[in-house]
Every structure is written in structure tokens, then in C-alpha cells.
């Protein structure tokens, strides 16, 4: 049996969140009626010329700085020539030999807890094409050029990933990063964030890469994982049965969970790149880079490190809470009232109750029905022992449903914890009196029955008895197994 090593590189297309297109003034909003957001430039009318949207350059530079990459002082737009109806000019304006961003890297936390550095070869600016529509038209194809000219940042990784899971972890990290930087909305359903995966296999230990296949247009993390897994299995099986992998472009069919060779858009693959004479080279000076650098937010890795260092969170928790800027901000807002000493408690609640409620109801954290201050208020009641953690969950659900503060709900529902020893003792006495058989069994050595008595007391107090006090008092009263 040959031990196959998988080699993966990703080309991620992130749609930049500019208001207008990269070379025209038309809007970039998603979902407008066909061809209502296509200007004469997007339609490639005779005589029109592209004018670069400086905001797209700023965003690309921001990304480059965030991954520690080299920002080209001079980058050049080139034309990639091919005919297709959704490509109105007959060429795509892209960057070829001189991309704006090159040689960066980022760190990815793998499942086994190790951190892996993935290289980013380059990131370049280019325009998106339009869309061909084949449905609902008899004997014809429609073309919607709303998307034509939308700015894309194509982020090309080194072939550094060794499994589908690593590829997904890398893609997620880029996804987190572009949203942190507010340069891409990351919306995968709308195609704002998608990738092509280059996949090959080689016998472990072999230096030379195997022949790769490129799987086009993967628009979900799950598809990336499944498509790569399928492709790896296909290639291994092919080679082991005496075949050879051919370099080709493939499409992933999510319904059948398989990749298939794609009929090429163009007969030949000669794009005849040359510098676009309609656009000047993009000159970027140190001043501009400094200005952009000043706008960089705290990056995910920095935030996670700070959470771990200053708040004593585990690397895992710190990673989860810094996975989006909004989540991190929410978590930190909870701590404002609650105090950093209770960071672990806050982390558990944000990752636990809050996240499940958000997921269950499909609500964004920025629109959470329980504000960070309100959650902080609830957790403060756990800290000061007004309620137990268990009761707090009930209070949280009520807060979520009714929108009231924790104190109001605790008050209204009478959920305040019973910490009066006398009162708890009274309930214990009554429970013991009502359960002579269990008492006898317990004293005869069935120490598991201790929980039975805890349950009975909490049942009688509706769970309000302070758990620690209850345990203490119950032990004394039951007198331990004889």
C-alpha cells in the first residue's frame, strides 16, 4: 500500500465590499433586476474606458498588510483575453505579472491543536464577469451583466495544505480575516466568497508534486471539504488502478457528491495576457501604505492571543471568541460590566447559551435579543449567588423570549436562590421524614441516593436552594452511610 500525501492550494475569490464597481460607477448591490446595474463601461460599449476605483486598491492593500505581505509599489493591470458572452469586452481586466499583494502568510489552528503557517503566494485585483442565464428562455441564453465589473480580490495560496480539513481551516481563516478587515461581506450564498481548489496526490516522501486538477467555483466550506475528499479518492483510485491524472478543470456536483471534467469556456487556453493600455500602473507610496495600516483593526490572531493572555482563556475558547469581530466585541462588552475575573464564565455563556439561541433563531449577534449588558447582568447574579447556574439558564430563556432584564425576571418569577440555612434545613427535614426507606438504604451504604435527596429538596424549593449549602447541610443531616 502506498501512503498518499495530499497537496492542496486554494484560489479564493473575495468580492470587495466597494459601493461601486472596480472600473465603473455602477452599483455593486446584489439581487437587482438583470442588467439594471450595468453601465456603458460594464456593457463594453464602443469608446468607453475603465477608471480604477481607488477604494478597491485600498482594500487589497489592507488585506496585504494583514497577512504580512509585500505591497507592490507599482502593480499593473493586464488583459486576459477570451470570448464568452458574459465577458462583454472579450477580455477580463486582471493582474498578471505584477499583482498588488505578494508573499504573505497566515496561521491556521488545526484540529489536533497545532498551528500551521500557510503561505499566500499573491493576491491580485480583477473584475468579475457577468452571468449567463439558461433557464426559462426557449432556445436562447440570457446575460445579466450586473455582476460584470464587480471588484474581486483573488487570493492564491501556496500548495501548503495536506488535507481537506486543512484547506477548510485555511479558507475559514481568510473568511474571518476579510470580514474583520471589512473588505468583503463573506456572503457565500451570494457568491461574495468562493474558491477554486488545486488538488494533487503524491507518494509520501516524494518531492515532486503530482499532476493537479482544479476544482472550480466552490461556494461553501462543506463543498470544499467534500469536493477535495472526493477528488483525492478519485485520483488515488485512478493511479492505483494504473491510470494517470490529467491536468484539467473540474466541477463539483454537490447533489451527486462528485467532481466532473468541465467543458472548457474557451477552445484553447491561451489568454494572451498583456498590460492594459487603458489603465496606468498603480503606484503605491509609503504614505498610502501607512495610512491604510493605521486603519487596520486588531486582527483575529492578535485578539485571540490577548484573550488567552489577559483573560486566561484556553487557546480554543480564545480562537472561537475571536472568529468574528462582532463576536469578540460582544464578548468584551459582557466583560465591561462583569469584570475580567469572570471571563471564563462569560466565555462559556457566549459560546454556549447565547450561540445556541442565535443559531436556533437564525439571528446575527449584532441583533441579539439579549444585549451584552443584559447578559453581563445575568452572569453577575450567578457570581453573587442570587441564582444558580441552572436557574440562570431558565432566566436567560425568559430574557431571550421577553426581552426583560435578569433582575426583573428573577424577581417576577421568585427565582432568587434560598441561602437561608434555616429554611433549607426545614425542607431537608421534611424530605427525610417523607422518605424513610431511602434514608435507611442510604445509611445502609447506597450512597448514590444522596442525589435523590438533593433532587427532592430542589424539587420542593423549585431549584432555588443554594447548591453548595444544600450539599453541606444534607451531608450533616443524612449522617453518612453507616
Amino acid at each position: 500500500m502506498i501512503d498518499w500525501e495530499v497537496v492542496i492550494g486554494l484560489e479564493i475569490h473575495a468580492q470587495l465590499a466597494t459601493r461601486s464597481k472596480i472600473f465603473s460607477g455602477a452599483a455593486t448591490a446584489y439581487g437587482a433586476p438583470p442588467n439594471t446595474q450595468a453601465s456603458l463601461v460594464d456593457l463594453a460599449y464602443p469608446g468607453v474606458l475603465p477608471v480604477l476605483n481607488a477604494e478597491a486598491v485600498r482594500m487589497a492593500v489592507k488585506f496585504g498588510l494583514a497577512i504580512g505581505a509585500t505591497i507592490a509599489r507599482r502593480s499593473i493591470f493586464a488583459r486576459k483575453n477570451y470570448f464568452y458572452p458574459d465577458l462583454p469586452k472579450g477580455y477580463q481586466i486582471s493582474q498578471y505579472e505584477h499583482p498588488v499583494v505578494s508573499r504573505g502568510s497566515l496561521k491556521v489552528l488545526l484540529d489536533d491543536g497545532t498551528v500551521k503557517t500557510i503561505g499566500v503566494t499573491r493576491a491580485h485585483l480583477e473584475e468579475d464577469a457577468g452571468k449567463s442565464l439558461h433557464e426559462g428562455l426557449a432556445n436562447a441564453s440570457g446575460i445579466d451583466l450586473n455582476r460584470a465589473g464587480t471588484p474581486l480580490l483573488e487570493i492564491v495560496s501556496e500548495p501548503d495544505m495536506r488535507s481537506a480539513k486543512e484547506a477548510v481551516a485555511y479558507m475559514k481563516k481568510i473568511h474571518t480575516l476579510v470580514r474583520y478587515l471589512e473588505i468583503c461581506d463573506g456572503n457565500m450564498q451570494e457568491g461574495s466568497f468562493r474558491c477554486d481548489a488545486n488538488v494533487s496526490v503524491r507518494p509520501r516522501g516524494q518531492e515532486k508534486f503530482g499532476t493537479r486538477a482544479e476544482i472550480k467555483n466552490l461556494n461553501s466550506f462543506r463543498f470544499v471539504e467534500k469536493a477535495i475528499q472526493y477528488e483525492v479518492a478519485r485520483q488515488v483510485e485512478l493511479i492505483e488502478s494504473g491510470g494517470r491524472v490529467v491536468q484539467e478543470t473540474r466541477l463539483y456536483d454537490s447533489d451527486k457528491d462528485e467532481t466532473r471534467p468541465m467543458r472548457s469556456k474557451e477552445e484553447a487556453n491561451d489568454y494572451r495576457y498583456f498590460p492594459d493600455p487603458d489603465l496606468l500602473p498603480v503606484e503605491i507610496d509609503a504614505g498610502f501604505i501607512a495610512t491604510v495600516r493605521a486603519t487596520l483593526p486588531e486582527l483575529p490572531d492578535e485578539k485571540a492571543a490577548r484573550f488567552a493572555r489577559d483573560l486566561g482563556l484556553s487557546l480554543y475558547d480564545a480562537g472561537v471568541l475571536s472568529a468574528s469581530r462582532e463576536l469578540g466585541a460582544y464578548f468584551e462588552a459582557v466583560l465591561t460590566g462583569l469584570g475580567k475575573a469572570h471571563a471564563k464564565l462569560a466565555a462559556n455563556w457566549v459560546m454556549g447559551e447565547l450561540s445556541s439561541a442565535l443559531n436556533r433563531d437564525g439571528v446575527e449577534i449584532t441583533a441579539s435579543r439579549v444585549s451584552p449588558a443584559a447578559l453581563g447582568g445575568l452572569l453577575a447574579r450567578i457570581v453573587d449567588e442570587t441564582i444558580s447556574g441552572k436557574i440562570a439558564k431558565e432566566v436567560f430563556e425568559a430574557m431571550w423570549a421577553e426581552g426583560q432584564g435578569a433582575d426583573d425576571i428573577i424577581e417576577k418569577r421568585g427565582l432568587k436562590q434560598i441561602t437561608d440555612s434555616g429554611a433549607i434545613e426545614g425542607v431537608i427535614d421534611a424530605v427525610i421524614a417523607a422518605n424513610p426507606k431511602q434514608l435507611a438504604d442510604y445509611r445502609a451504604g447506597k450512597d448514590k441516593l444522596f442525589q435523590f435527596f438533593v433532587g427532592q429538596v430542589q424539587k420542593a424549593t423549585k431549584g432555588k436552594a443554594n447548591p453548595a449549602q444544600l450539599n453541606e447541610l444534607l451531608k450533616t443531616k443524612l449522617g453518612g452511610p453507616a
Binding site: A44, Y45, P46, G47, L49, V51, P85, K89, R272, F274
Partner: protein, 485 residues
């Protein structure tokens, strides 16, 4: 006669209300209707719109407004997009294309109150040196209708020579203003690359194309250039440099000006033509300029360089003509490939196809370095030659063309001979320099052109030199027989 008056004289009469723009416009419309059928200089005459624009100009004049071009009639080369008017670019491909917007040049002239009479014939997509590649048929040279007027702005040049408008616009990618200006005996200016916006000018070779003017005098050209020049945010390659007052600088003395005679331009030049250039030099010397011989060693490589760079860019620029969104579409396409192949095969003429194929070839994998990249290197060497020359002299002088106008049909089947027509003009395009052609005499009854080339943004100096020359000579006042009156 009105058509013999300069733009300045006409503006004065319009301003004094001695003449109305409607009268002037009618005069030119009548001339076009009478004289154009023999010349084929216009593809489209927009008489009604012209008269409406003239009436509007008259209202502005009546309200006390005045301007150097307010109410002055012109003809645009049919390469400039004109809102609501067919813009054919001389091609079957765009025979049905009505532009939905104005080119910047058109918009600026419109705003200045100039009156468009119509659209001038041209080589298809500006590819040609004789105006024979037009879908609308060849343009005839008013000096001899058996001769070509030059190209690609042959219609604009012929219309100017025949006095069908007060001025006309053109574009120059490898000599397309200067060469036809020379062959028709008019003054033609190709400005510095980036001086005039290319927005709305249908692209042939983007790094070489530049809009310019045909006029009867350098003074008129200066007036028009001042209006159309200047930065345009819609064209990234237009340059944000202030536009000098060209007319104000026309009379500056030439004393102390250093003029370089381009040695390479005289190799193999016909003696009678060379004699005219030497006569012109004497005029400049008498005006106080000093002359010296200058060599640009790489200039002889300009034709092959150009015929790599220009087709490369055109092969890409013309990809948008695919029969999908506008322009010619073949009948009943069977599928996408058929739509592309037949629409382009039927919509483009042979010269355009030749250049698309040449351009596609030089950009192809395996040939790119040997052709396109090499051509770009030579282009830099030529530019460097010019830069070095302009350290010694203020402007360069030489013939515009090797020969006067040739017979229609004489070279159309021999592209290489045809391409050599641009041998003296292409250098300025490759280096992005301003150039000007002005009439300097006759050979066999046909006008010859004197070419001036200056450093970047030296249009003012070129126009100044040309104007002083025209004050001292009368070559520019000659009109072809039958078109004076």
C-alpha cells in the same frame, strides 16, 4: 466666401451679428450636398440637427454670449461617439450603431457651441492609410479624385480641403491625422498622447490613439485644440496638465528656436520632396530659427514596431464586437461559436481581420516575447532617441509622407507598401509626442506636407512655429480647383 474664412474671422462675424450660425450652417450643408457625392467624405450628414444646433448657438450669441467656436460648423470623424447619431467607425460592424453618449471631444465642442454637420468617412476602425478600407467606400482626394486622401482620417481631411466645414476632427494612431493632412493640403495636429481625452473615441490601439484637429491654418487648429484639450476623469491616460492658451502664443518670435532636421527622414526621399523641406527650412532660418541635423538611430525600426504593438492592442480592443450586445449580428446563428465567427467574419473587412490576426499571433504563448515584448523594448529605444534629440533641439522637422497622394487602388493589395506610408509619422505615436503637418508646396500638382514634432506637451510651440511659417508663406491658402468658390 464663407467657407474660405478662418474660424477666427467667422467667430468675429458671428459675434457682430453680421452673420448668423444658421446662415453659415446652411452654407456648409449646401456645399456638402453639392460637393460630397463626388468625394464621399461624409458617412452621415445631420443637416436638421445641425440647423437646430445653429439656431441654439444664435440664441446664445443674441444673448450676448460669445466664444471662439460658438456657432462654428464642424465635421467629426465617425470614430467619435455622438449621442443619438450613428457612429459607424467606417465598419459594417457598426453600421447600425447609434451611440448612446457623446465622446468627451464631442461634448466639449458641443458645450462650446460648435455645430456638428455630420460624420466623416474613415478607414474601417481607423486601420488604413488611404481611406480605402471603409465599408462606405473610398474617399476621393479633392485635389484629384483619382487619388486617395490618405487615412485613416481621410474623410475629415478631404472635407477640410474641400471646405465642407470650418474645421474637422480626426484621430492619429500612426499618422492618421498628419498623413491625410499632408496629402490634402491642410493643417493637421496630433497632440501629445494624453493631451486630449480618448473617452468615446472608438479604440484602435489604446496606447497610440490620440484625437486631434484638421484646420486650414495653424491658428484655427490652436483655437480648436484649446477647447478639446485637457484632463478628463473618464480617461485614466489623459494627463492632468494645464492647457496653455495656444492662440495667445501663436505670434511669439522664433528667434533662438533650434530646429533639428531628421536625417533618417531623408534616406530615399524623392528629391523634389526633399527640396520642399529644404525650402521650408530656409523660411524658418529667415524667421530667426537655427537648424541642425539630428539623427534618431532607432527610428527606422518604427514601422515594424508599430505593426506589432498596434495590431496587438487592436486584437483585444475589437473583441467586444461579438454580435451579442450591439452592432452587426449574423443571420440565424446556429450556436455561440457560429454567432461569433459569422458576426465577426461578416462584420469586419479584410484589413481589420488582418490586423486582428497579426495581433492575436504576436500575443500568443510562445511568440509574445519575440514580438510584443521585443516591440515594447524597441519602442522605449525610439522614445529615448527622441528624448535625447530634444535635449539639443526644440523641435524636429521633416517630410510628413514619402510621396504625394497615390492612386486609389494602387497599394490596397500590398499591405507592406501601404504600411510604409506611415514611415515618418509613426515615431511620434510610439513616443507619445505631438506632431503637426502643414502644407509646404506641391509635387505634380499635389500638396506635400511638412511635419513638425516636438517634446511632450509642446503643442503650443509647434503651433507657434507653424503659424509663423504660414504668415511667411501662402501654401496653406491654396484650395483644390473647384472648391475655392
Amino acid at each position: 466666401m464663407l467657407h474660405n474664412l478662418s474660424v477666427g474671422e467667422l467667430a468675429e462675424r458671428l459675434r457682430s451679428r453680421e452673420l448668423s450660425s444658421v446662415e453659415l450652417t446652411r452654407h456648409f450643408v449646401e456645399r456638402i450636398e453639392r460637393l460630397n457625392p463626388a468625394l464621399n467624405a461624409l458617412i452621415t450628414l445631420t443637416a436638421d440637427a445641425a440647423l437646430a444646433a445653429a439656431a441654439a448657438a444664435d440664441r446664445r450669441l443674441a444673448s450676448g454670449e460669445h466664444g471662439p467656436l460658438l456657432g462654428i460648423p464642424l465635421i467629426h470623424k465617425d470614430i467619435f461617439c455622438t449621442d443619438g447619431v450613428r457612429t459607424s467607425c467606417g465598419s459594417r460592424m457598426l453600421d447600425n450603431f447609434v451611440a448612446p453618449y457623446d465622446a468627451t471631444v464631442v461634448a466639449r465642442l458641443k458645450a462650446a457651441g460648435a455645430v456638428m454637420l455630420g460624420k466623416a468617412n474613415m478607414d474601417e476602425f481607423a486601420m488604413g492609410s488611404s481611406n480605402e478600407t471603409s465599408y462606405y467606400g473610398p474617399v476621393k482626394n479633392p485635389w484629384n479624385i483619382a487619388k486617395v486622401p490618405g487615412g485613416s482620417s481621410g474623410g475629415s481631411a478631404a472635407a477640410m480641403a474641400a471646405r465642407l466645414a470650418s474645421f474637422t476632427t480626426g484621430t492619429d494612431t500612426g499618422g492618421s491625422i498628419r498623413q491625410p493632412a499632408a496629402l490634402t493640403g491642410v493643417t493637421g495636429v496630433k497632440p501629445t498622447y494624453g493631451r486630449v481625452s480618448r473617452y468615446g473615441m472608438i479604440a484602435f490601439a489604446s496606447s497610440l490613439d490620440q484625437a486631434g484637429v484638421f484646420a486650414r491654418t495653424a491658428a484655427d487648429a490652436a483655437t480648436v485644440l484649446k477647447v478639446i484639450a485637457g484632463f478628463d476623469p473618464l480617461d485614466s491616460t489623459s494627463v492632468d496638465e494645464p492647457v496653455p492658451d495656444y492662440p495667445a502664443a501663436l505670434d511669439a518670435p522664433l528667434s533662438g528656436m533650434k530646429i533639428g532636421l531628421l536625417r533618417e527622414f531623408f534616406d530615399g526621399l524623392e528629391p523634389r520632396n526633399a527640396a520642399l523641406i529644404h525650402d521650408s527650412l530656409k523660411v524658418f532660418t529667415s524667421l530667426g530659427a537655427a537648424t541642425m541635423e539630428v539623427s534618431l538611430p532607432h527610428l527606422p525600426l518604427s514601422v515594424p514596431t508599430y505593426y506589432v504593438v498596434a495590431p496587438a492592442e487592436c486584437s483585444s480592443n475589437l473583441s467586444r464586437f461579438d454580435g451579442v450586445r450591439f452592432g452587426y449580428r449574423c443571420d440565424q446563428p446556429r450556436d455561440l461559436a457560429d454567432l461569433y465567427m459569422r458576426s465577426r467574419g461578416e462584420g469586419f473587412g479584410p484589413e481589420v481581420k488582418r490586423r486582428i490576426m497579426t495581433g492575436t499571433y504576436v500575443l500568443s504563448a510562445g511568440y509574445f516575447d519575440a514580438y510584443y515584448l521585443k516591440a515594447q523594448k524597441v519602442r522605449r529605444l525610439i522614445t529615448e532617441d527622441f528624448r535625447a534629440a530634444f535635449e539639443r533641439v526644440d523641435l524636429l522637422i521633416g517630410p510628413t509622407t514619402p510621396t504625394p497622394a497615390f492612386d486609389i487602388g494602387a497599394k490596397i493589395d500590398d499591405p507592406v507598401t501601404m504600411y510604409l506610408n506611415d514611415i515618418y509619422t509613426i515615431g511620434a505615436n510610439l513616443a507619445g509626442l505631438p506632431g503637426l503637418s502643414l502644407p509646404c508646396g506641391f509635387v505634380d500638382g499635389l500638396p506635400m506636407g511638412l511635419q513638425l514634432i516636438g517634446p511632450h506637451f509642446s503643442e503650443g510651440r509647434l503651433l507657434n512655429a507653424a503659424h509663423r511659417y504660414q504668415r511667411a508663406t501662402e501654401w496653406h491658402t491654396h484650395a483644390p480647383r473647384g472648391y475655392e468658390r
